[in-house]
Chain length 198, copies 2
């Protein structure tokens, strides 16, 4: 009766690998136990429940992504930094579809606040220093950047771009050009507010 040496960390990593291979929706406690040559009930000694496992995978993915983005960003500024960030992001999502899917689950606020998602947000703001935006434009720009990255990667994965011959790589590159252009020349607030009216 040799022990399998299961720990929460090893379970999380194996679950992440499993997610990349067969999709996050097919990652089950039973399947994970099989991979460790152990009964499913045994895993509940290490994880609270199936949802807990998913959250752990999400946190792992967020941390990994933050590391990659940080590495890509080192020594760059301006558009260079923007492109490096974006490519690191898309590359991670493409290489690790299961992990990326796990990142999309709803974390409760305190878990999210303690996650690497915060580092992610900080790095995005750092990029914008090269574009000289002040609040609240900066927040709006951060949100638009994230939306563009996540939306593109997400649609690309679910096949939303399949019906047009144009390669997604080319469109991605042009989207980054467009993003750089609009960040460099962020439009002033509309005339709905009194101070900018007329």
């Amino acid at each position: 009766m040799a022990r399998a040496g299961v720990t929460a960390e090893r379970l999380t990593l194996a679950a992440a690998e499993l997610a990349d291979e067969i999709g996050m929706e097919n990652v089950t406690v039973a399947a994970l136990a099989r991979r460790f040559g152990v009964k499913d009930a045994s895993l509940y000694f290490h994880i609270r429940n199936a949802q807990d496992l998913r959250v752990r995978v999400a946190l792992l993915a967020l941390a990994e992504l933050a590391d990659r983005v940080a590495a890509a960003l080192a020594g760059r500024a301006g558009k260079d930094a923007l492109v490096a960030f974006a490519n690191a992001y898309r590359d991670y999502a493409t290489r690790h579809p299961g992990r990326y899917a796990a990142m999309q689950i709803d974390l409760d606020p305190e878990t999210a606040a303690a996650s690497a998602g915060v580092r992610h947000a900080e790095m995005t703001r750092a990029i914008l220093r090269g574009y000289r935006l002040s609040e609240p434009d900066q927040t709006d720009a951060v949100r638009m950047m994230h939306s563009t990255f996540h939306g593109f990667v997400s649609l690309e994965k679910t096949g939303g771009f399949r019906h047009t011959p144009r390669t997604t790589d080319a469109s991605w590159s042009r989207a980054l050009d467009a993003l750089d252009a609009v960040l460099s020349n962020w439009p002033p607030a509309e005339s709905t507010d009194a101070e900018t009216a007329r």
Copy 2:
């Protein structure tokens, strides 16, 4: 033994409502059967399996969204049309989170080609006529628009914007301004290609 009057259409609609109420991941054949006062096995007379049900909900949602977008777009052009499209999209996603989630499932190519997603794509291209873009810029712009919309709505729903005080409505409005600006002044292709080099 009065018949419950179950049809595939009524099942799909009920599944969509259920999805909006309790989330798409909790929509189960058993729960749906309960809502109709019928045994779960009986539903397999109308639908092939659980996945078939999800696809039907996705197609329903795509058609509904296309209708709403078409209505919002009537008689508008330029930025007006862009904003109307975007708001109809976001409004639908907010009002029908379950249906919107269903739309994200991977449809096989032929099903997707026969879906209302095609109408959706056509309408997006129609908007861009106001911005006078020619191919392949048009395709790139369509993809960027969709990415921004989907990404924003998706991050908003999973709480990606929660940690900053700025309202999402304001950021959304400014993202549309930015999109209008960049579509009006679409940046030329980079100098990676020979013809534009130097």
